[in-house]
């Protein structure tokens, strides 16, 4: 069984049921068409020489074209690697270069920049270019390629559960993103847990708010397909419009919503929720960052009926703990809700800095073992093994999440913080060191230090401190522009402070604690 097989039952059993609704255009794609189109992608990839184990890049706006492509890649026995199409082109070219994709399915509007950036790295994968990200355009591109050299109608490649299914790149502390390798088994274990926990119905309409390079998409896509539900794909531009999102829920009668808390917060503040009929929602799931309770309460006041779930887990494990928010949030509660109990398909342990288990009630690092846990990081064997506990002789691979937690008396984990310099911003992982590497490349900058401070409204604010030699100090506009050319927008610092030199500790290291107060 491969991850793509979640599609089979609905293709056979309810071929004319809508699998996907494009949130932007309201175009509908039924299960039969999605199944057929993913077969054609598979056949084209095999025709150009793709073999099991190859990696295939994606550089597409969010559409059914992307979903059909992902399924087709999996059917060919290959693994998909989504690039963030909203990030600078150099980043997408880098991740595809890093894992040596054999081919990339790309939209015309991204092609020129992708060619240029890949060229700088010295290698351009085969490109399958679609004019725009829609199923019609994907079909047209496949038709055109078939005219040049017909792809033979083949069969889906047999997949072993441990085979690589996809690589998701996340922010890396060395200055370049790192690729989390996930197998079919990793994804299926998670999908099956979702089935038993949330019991989705074929009548459910799922939101798909997260981009494809974000692991929330695994729930949105594969849980929905497995249960023969309908996915409403929300394009990136629309995903930032709170009123548009509320309208989309009402228009398409979305019943299961999943996003980062920041999106729900934005909708509560700016979405004019009282003007929209949101009664179709029966479950609201959130993950990716802490949801300040005052903000959760505010959203829930507008939309009281659904069940609310706080899901927790890094990309390396997908969701590994979960907590159902009580129906009523007491007025006086300000403390965030716990991240909850370990998912039933996984095991957890909390360890001290030596890797020894701590007693209940004591702080320690949460470690996770089980079917969800990643294969490792692409091309980083040392980094991969360092992310697991040394063998405990129990035959399990314990992934160290980097998150500090406390096991409370009621059996739930409470999230305390990070043991390193990673922060979450609008659900995205941000390694502060990666921003520093970028800033150090700015002409004239001799030192860069980035700190994150909690912010009640936005969760976190990122502040950059720079030491600049020379006479002219760069302006805020120049620095923001530079960062936006080299980093995804969610990594661009909120503020920049220029110093003659950065404060130092007694051992001559950058004094981050001092910078947090400036």
């Amino acid at each position: 069984m491969g991850l793509h097989n979640v599609l089979d039952e609905a293709v056979r059993g309810r071929p004319t049921h809508t699998a996907i609704i494009e949130g932007g255009t309201a175009q509908r794609v039924d299960y039969r068409r999605l199944g057929r189109l993913s077969d054609r992608v598979r056949d084209r990839l095999i025709a150009i020489g793709v073999e099991p184990g190859d990696r295939i890049g994606l550089c597409l706006g969010k559409s059914a074209c992307g979903v059909a492509s992902m399924l087709g890649i999996l059917k060919a026995g290959a693994a998909y690697v989504p690039a963030d199409p909203m990030a600078p082109a150099a980043r997408g070219a880098y991740v595809h270069h890093d894992c040596t994709v054999k081919a990339t399915i790309i939209e015309r509007r991204f092609e020129a920049a992708y060619r240029e950036e890949s060229g700088k790295l010295g290698r351009l994968p085969d490109l399958i270019v679609v004019e725009a990200s829609s199923v019609d355009h994907l079909e047209a591109s496949l038709d055109e390629l078939d005219l040049q050299s017909p792809a033979r109608r083949g069969a889906t490649v047999d997949t072993a559960e441990q085979d690589l299914a996809y690589i998701l790149y996340t922010s890396g502390s060395t200055g370049t993103p790192k690729g989390v390798m996930l197998s079919h088994r990793n994804a299926l274990d998670f999908v099956d847990w979702c089935s038993s926990t949330f019991e989705p119905q074929p009548s459910d309409i799922f939101s798909s708010h997260a981009p494809f390079h974000f692991d929330l998409s695994i729930f949105d896509l594969y849980v929905a397909l497995k249960h023969g539900g309908t996915i409403v794909l929300i394009p990136a531009e629309l995903g930032k419009e709170p009123q548009g999102l509320a309208g989309l829920i009402a228009q398409h009668r979305i019943s299961i919503w999943y996003s980062a808390p920041s999106t729900l917060n934005m909708m509560a503040q700016f979405g004019r929720l009282q003007e929209h009929d949101l009664s179709s929602l029966r479950m609201v799931l959130f993950a990716g960052e802490v949801f300040p309770t005052i903000r959760l309460r505010s959203f829930k006041q507008f939309v009281p009926a659904p069940r609310y779930f706080n899901l927790y887990g890094p990309t390396e494990t997908n969701v590994c703990t979960w907590y159902e928010i009580p129906a009523v949030i007491p007025e006086e509660r300000v403390e965030p809700y716990p991240i909850g109990k370990t998912c039933s398909n996984l095991e957890s342990v909390v360890v001290d800095t030596k890797g020894e288990p701590v007693a209940a009630g004591e702080e320690g690092e949460l470690c996770i073992a089980g079917g969800n846990v990643m294969l490792g990081y692409w091309g980083m064997p040392e980094r991969s093994s360092a992310s697991f506990l040394p063998s405990r002789g129990d035959g399990r691979r314990w992934y160290k999440t980097g998150d500090i937690v406390v096991l409370m008396e009621d059996g739930n984990y409470r999230y305390v913080g990070r043991r390193d310099r990673m922060v979450k911003r609008r659900g995205n992982r941000v390694e502060l060191a990666e921003i520093e590497v970028c800033l150090n490349r700015y002409p004239g900058v001799s030192e860069a230090a980035v700190v994150a401070l909690p912010d009640e409204l936005e969760g976190v604010r990122i502040k950059a401190h720079l030491a600049v030699g020379g006479v002219r100090r760069p302006s805020l506009v120049e620095l923001k522009t530079f960062c936006s050319q080299h980093l995804p927008l969610y990594m661009v610092p909120d503020t920049f402070t220029v110093h003659d030199q950065l404060p130092k500790t007694s051992t001559d290291k950058t004094d981050y604690q001092a910078l947090k107060t400036r």
């Binding site: 419009e241 709170p242 934005m266 503040q269 936005e458 302006s475 805020l476 506009v477 909120d494």
Partner: protein
């Protein structure tokens, strides 16, 4: 009257005071890209929209909250001017 200079001034003042929190205005010109550079992030953009709606008694559609309509002070001024044409800043004719 809600002419372009007044709109432009009040938008600039709002961005400098409320969003950039008194940072050096430096090169914040009428044509500096704001959204595509994250000078205004998504939350700040929504704050700007609320400000514009209140300050000029206008309504901005969800579809207008994007770089095509709001990326520079010049574009913002145009958008507001288009919506307030023929009325004063308080909505009077």
């Amino acid at each position: 009257m809600g002419g372009a200079p007044r709109i432009e001034q009040s938008v600039r003042a709002f961005i400098l005071n409320d969003i950039l929190e008194g940072q050096d205005p430096g090169e914040l010109t009428d044509t500096t890209p704001l959204l595509s550079t994250a000078i205004l992030d998504s939350m700040a953009t929504l704050k700007l929209v609320l400000f514009l709606e209140k300050e000029f008694s206008i309504s901005i559609d969800a579809a207008e909250v994007d770089a095509a309509h709001l990326d520079t002070i010049e574009l913002i001024t145009q958008l507001v001017r288009g919506k307030t044409a023929g009325t004063g800043p308080d909505g009077s004719a």
